[in-house]
Amino acid sequence: MAERSESVPLRQSFIFDRNLEVQSMSNRGPNLERNILVFAVWAVLGFLGLGIFLEGMARDLWSLSALGIALIVAAFIAHIVINGIFNTGFTPGETALGIGAYGFLGLVFVLGVASDGMTIADFYSGLTLFGVLAAGFLAYLLTRHGLRNAFSQFHIKPASEREAAK
């Protein structure tokens, strides 16, 4: 509705002024809703898992760390289920964040091992985390894209080669 006219009497003017916001359904609605769910899942399961994992490291308890890893895996599974519901995959931003975080944590782990400041429980906790995440990532690619196409996800040909192949 249009902006109300300046000459409308007080009460009536208000009645016409209430509708400045056009009723609209956002085109990005489903994607936004997916993102909200993804954020909620990671805020809950991801951070709780991280906390329990760190608690296991602090207490030298592999079993506790493994529980934290299980929660992180559960967050991934929930993320994939949400993707399935909304018929989409991981966004480029999510992929970059995930791989970046994996690389950063891997670096921290390697530095920790190299500096000899890790207990056996910490070492196995770290190995379990990276092993499970790597295995989970591969399993996701294989189940979503198949053996052949999973490889293609990383094998991006330069434009010149694509042209030549044609």
Binding site: S7, V8, P9, L10, S13, I15, D17, N35, I36, F39
Partner: protein, 637 residues
């Protein structure tokens, strides 16, 4: 390593991310206030439930149980008490909002009653929620920040930081940011409640150990009254004047506290969220399964556990728990708590800013304000409200507490005009206005704010807070209802405006009472009254002894009143489900709602009138201030 700044930064980044998303969706400023009425029903349900519980349940509910025990069982029924008004009002208000293209409670009240007083009152309630009610919770969080950082962050810095994060996403993203982020915050806050409970139980050694501690407390004659309701009513002069026998937790205290809680979903905040939704499809599910079942269960089980743990040992209060757990868990739980509080505070600020600018300032004083300026002015007002809140948190915490305690009982006074709009056609405009006026007086005269103001002017009331152990919400509603009934009886011939008639006609057309709902009407009344009587009313005295063995030991292994509370929480979920779905009070509706086209009217130039109104306002304020100063100097002390 202190994890709190790390988690805090991450939280701030997430809020800014959603503010950016919301701002882009808003298309400049076009849908800043109501998100184009496009909020998904499930998001709306989560935000309403999360804002209803907010940080209140953890910060105040658990503390009250920890300090006073189970003597106020209405706290355990918070989820049901908060859900019932939504069942009663939301569907009809959404339909009316859609039909007349209204987007706030103030607009609804103006369209139906044509009363500027009611509009101003709704705005005042929104401001109270935004500044005082939310301010109280933010102040508590700021104190926790000071505690968790070992004093490295001072209280003013902590409250400013929390306010800056809140300000950022509300002014940038408007209703979309509040909603999108609110859904995440609601989930996070709910999980934080579970997390706090888990850590408390782990710390105590399990649920059995918790109850063993409670048994030891109950064996102490000095503390045994914490596990019972001290009668139906006690005719005391009120807190601060005359102490009640045992404690002030009578059955009527519980009932009146439950009524106070029912104020939230009649407040401009909740109704703003409802009117911003794109469909009423989520109302029944939201009120039944999200609000009553999930959040109600969190209160009846988890918050009660936390309160009980704090009773057993003060180290298991919220602050104690945050300090005792590992820093990463402490930071995670704190952010969950912060999310719950900021959810309600953000919604409150947006609603209050809109109410002040769009519902009051613009129609009264500046009708030519364009869309962009309206939004920008609202942003400035939101900033000022937040600044006032921060200043009060740091400089006048007592005043903040006193004002904060007014929000819920005053919001509850909006029930009568809302009932008039949605259900009771016989409530006339003069009755609603006068009733609310008397309701406000009833609340103020039984709350520390009114008592302190009158005392300042030299008038000492012979009662204190909550006389006869009845909360101000009920005193206000007693006055409100009595006057509404009386005035309605005498003013039935007064006609309503065109919009009000259209609202009545539209509701009766689109919501004809189904045969099943009609046949179940008496059952619905009976169930509702029975639940109110037994769960939060005088029937609570049965709960004192319902689950006790003959030798006085606890039959369920937990306090009898707690067991009673859990039983009636389950019954309450059933009641909300029955009213929502079977009675079709909040059930989904498939009909299209065409917009109402008002007949064209001749429009007069308002500039001179607006100018005159501004002059009258300034003059009235000056005279009022002078009168207050003179009265204070003459009679005050």
């Amino acid at each position: 390593m202190n994890w709190l700044p790390l988690y805090g930064l991450f939280y701030a980044a997430v809020t800014l991310y959603w503010a950016r998303v919301a701002a882009r969706e808003n298309g400049d400023v076009e849908t800043y206030f109501s998100a184009g009425h496009s909020i998904a029903p499930w998001i709306s349900a989560l935000v309403i439930a999360g804002a209803s519980i907010s940080g209140w349940a953890l910060l105040d509910g658990a503390e009250q149980i920890g300090a006073g025990g189970f003597g106020l069982p209405a706290l355990l029924q918070a989820g049901i008490a908060l859900a019932l008004p939504g069942v009663l009002f939301f569907k009809r208000l959404w339909l009316l909002g859609q039909r007349l293209r209204l987007s706030s409670l103030g607009e609804l009240l103006r369209a139906y009653y044509g009363s500027e007083f009611l509009v101003a009152f709704a705005a005042a309630v929104a401001v109270l929620f935004a500044v005082a009610f939310a301010g109280l919770q933010l102040a508590a969080l700021s104190r926790l920040v000071v505690l968790l950082t070992g004093g490295e962050v001072s209280l003013p810095v902590a409250s400013t930081l929390l306010a800056v994060v809140l300000f950022g996403y509300v002014v940038i993203g408007g209703m979309r940011a509040v909603s999108y982020l609110g859904a995440i915050q609601a989930v996070f806050a709910a999980v934080a409640i579970v997390g706090f409970t888990g850590f408390a139980l782990i710390g105590l050694g399990g649920f059995g150990q918790l109850n063993a501690g409670l048994v030891a407390l109950a064996a102490d004659p000095a503390k045994a009254t914490r596990f019972i309701v001290t009668g139906v009513i006690q005719f005391t002069a009120g807190a601060g004047r005359e102490a009640a026998a045992g404690h002030e937790g009578t059955a009527l205290a519980s009932l009146s506290v439950a009524l106070g809680l029912m104020g939230f979903q009649a407040s401009p905040l909740a109704i703003k969220m409802v009117l911003s939704s794109r469909s009423p499809r989520g109302l029944a599910a939201g009120q039944t399964w999200v609000m009553a079942a999930t959040f109600g269960g969190l209160v009846a089980l988890c918050v009660a556990c936390l309160g009980a743990a704090a009773m057993v040992s003060s180290g298991f209060g919220i602050a104690g728990l945050l300090q005792s757990v590992s820093p990463w868990f402490g930071a995670w739980l704190f952010i969950g708590l912060l999310a719950g509080v900021q959810l309600m505070a953000g919604l409150g600020l947006l609603t209050a800013g809109e109410a002040l600018v769009r519902n009051l300032y613009k129609p009264w004083f500046h009708g030519r304000l364009n869309r962009r300026d309206t939004v920008n002015l609202t942003r400035i007002v939101i900033g000022l409200l937040l600044l006032a809140s921060v200043l009060m948190q740091n400089l006048t915490p007592v005043t903040l507490t006193v004002l904060g305690s007014l929000a819920l009982p005053l919001a509850f006074q909006l029930w009568t005009p809302l009932l008039g709009i949605t259900w009771l056609r016989w409530i006339t405009r003069p009755a609603a206005v006068t009733g609310v006026g008397f309701g406000i007086a009833g609340v103020l005269l039984t709350e520390p704010f009114g008592i302190a103001v009158l005392s300042f002017f030299g008038l000492d009331l012979p009662w204190g807070r909550a006389p006869w152990t009845i909360h101000s919400a009920a005193w206000g509603m007693a006055a409100n209802l009595a006057v509404t009934l009386l005035v309605s009886a005498f003013t039935q011939r007064r006609g309503l405006g065109q919009e009000a008639q259209e609202m009545r006609r539209f509701l009766s057309e689109i919501l004809p009472a189904g045969s099943r709902a009609r046949s179940l009407r008496s059952t619905a009344w009976s169930l509702t009254l029975a639940w109110l009587f037994l769960a939060v009313g005088p029937g609570l005295v049965f709960g004192n002894y319902a689950f006790l063995h003959a030798d006085g030991s606890w039959a369920l292994g937990m306090p009898s009143l707690w067991g009673w509370g859990l039983l009636f929480w389950v019954a309450g979920v059933g009641l909300v489900w029955f009213l929502s779905y079977k009675m079709e009070m909040a059930s989904p509706l498939a009909s299209e709602v065409p917009a109402y086209e008002p007949p064209p009217r001749l429009q007069a130039d308002q500039r001179q009138a607006e100018h005159d109104r501004l002059r009258v306002l300034i003059f009235t304020c000056a005279v009022g201030f002078a009168l207050v100063v003179i009265a204070a100097l003459g009679f005050g002390r």
